[in-house]
Amino acid sequence: MTQPRSVSGRLPEPYGSGGGANLADILERVLDKGIVIAGDIRINLLDIELLTIKLRLVVASVDKAKEMGIDWWEDDPELSSRARRKQLARENRELRERLAALDPEAADEVGRPRARREISDEEAR
């Protein structure tokens, strides 16, 4: 599929095809490389970077990617707040279980004051 374009000065073919380059190659360069200048229109580069990571060089749409089972970013705490919450909940549960295994009474105590504090936090807001 990949064919280097003519090397000498002028490129004979009209581009748009991007030579032998695939979309991944193009996105990699125009999103990740090149001079970074903050223009008048400020887009948070993080948005773009997130996109680049998310789709790291997807050729399909996000929906298609999901259909294809490419949805790993949803479980990546770095990329998805839902995954982050899931991870925190899991860690909490695991810690509580471990504590319960070590000392059932202490685990009980930890549970109760914690619940109270959560309520008062909410009241404070």
Binding site: N22, V30, I35, V36, I43, I48, V59
Partner: protein, 260 residues
């Protein structure tokens, strides 16, 4: 109607005509703005698509992003034919001409220095893939379906396979390392990029090398021949390797001064 200014690249003034009927992002023709002996190549684009909010929304739309990325690269590519452009990252937008001029003034010295460094050079992309071929340690067809006779048998088979797998990666990486060294010797500079995710780029095999090489245009033919030659030899040397060459690109990977 006045639109925003979407800037593709900055370069020195050039005399050769750009490809006719070149269209840039949003289907707009690229234009030139001369300032302080430099040229900004830009398109006038509608605010309803390129102001902050709509632009951010568009960037999450892969079809829009794809079309815009191709158009951006298309203009940069056309410039590469006639001069040495310094490509800007996708989505660099100013309110008006004076915004573009201010940007040029603020960065004039860096632009000139970078242009001096990159003049007459292009970028070649080289990727190496290790094809997923059956490991030597994989049991033959008949054997494969049969259940291992015992737990120990199973473990032994598994470790044989794991070892073969490991050897293979080692070979692949050594091969990529040798190729990279050989190409570096024929390039002025190089950058190693993150491997492309195979599931996403659509390429088969695992991407073990994703590199960019800065090569003078005049020595590009040699460089391409070298890659071709290596490609042919690699078949006998380490089976299952695939080398892909793309380019010539504008020196996208080299516009920023030494990053690492």
């Amino acid at each position: 109607m006045t639109g925003l200014r979407y800037v593709y690249a900055v370069c020195r003034p050039f005399t050769a005509p750009l490809q006719r009927q070149l269209t840039g992002v949003a289907g707009a023709p690229p234009r030139q703005l001369v300032h302080h002996g430099l040229i900004a190549v830009f398109s006038e684009v509608p605010a309803e698509d390129f102001a902050e909010e709509p632009l951010r929304a568009h960037l999450e739309d892969l079809d829009w992003l794809t079309a815009t990325a191709r158009a951006h690269q298309g203009v940069v590519d056309a410039l590469t034919v006639v001069t040495t452009p310094l490509p800007l990252r996708l989505g660099t937008v100013f309110h008006d001409d004076s915004g573009v001029r201010t940007m040029i003034e603020a960065r004039e010295r860096v632009f000139l220095r970078t242009l001096g460094r990159l003049e007459g050079r292009v970028e070649w992309g080289v990727k190496v893939y290790a094809e997923d071929s059956p490991d030597p340690g994989t049991p033959a067809e008949g054997e494969k379906s049969a259940h291992p006779a015992s737990g120990r048998d199973y473990l032994r088979r598994r470790s044989t396979r794991a070892r073969a797998h490991e050897t293979r990666w080692q070979q692949a990486e050594e091969y990529a390392g040798r190729l990279h060294a050989a190409l570096c010797a024929h390039a002025e500079d190089s950058r190693l990029h993150n491997p492309q995710n195979a599931a996403l780029s659509g390429a088969s095999g695992r991407n073990v090398l994703n590199a960019a090489y800065l090569v003078p245009r005049s020595r590009s033919e040699e460089f391409v021949e070298l890659v071709d030659r290596t490609k042919d030899e690699s078949g006998d040397d380490v089976p299952g390797m695939r080398v892909e060459l793309t380019g010539p690109w504008a020196a996208y990977s080299f516009v920023e001064e030494e990053r690492t």
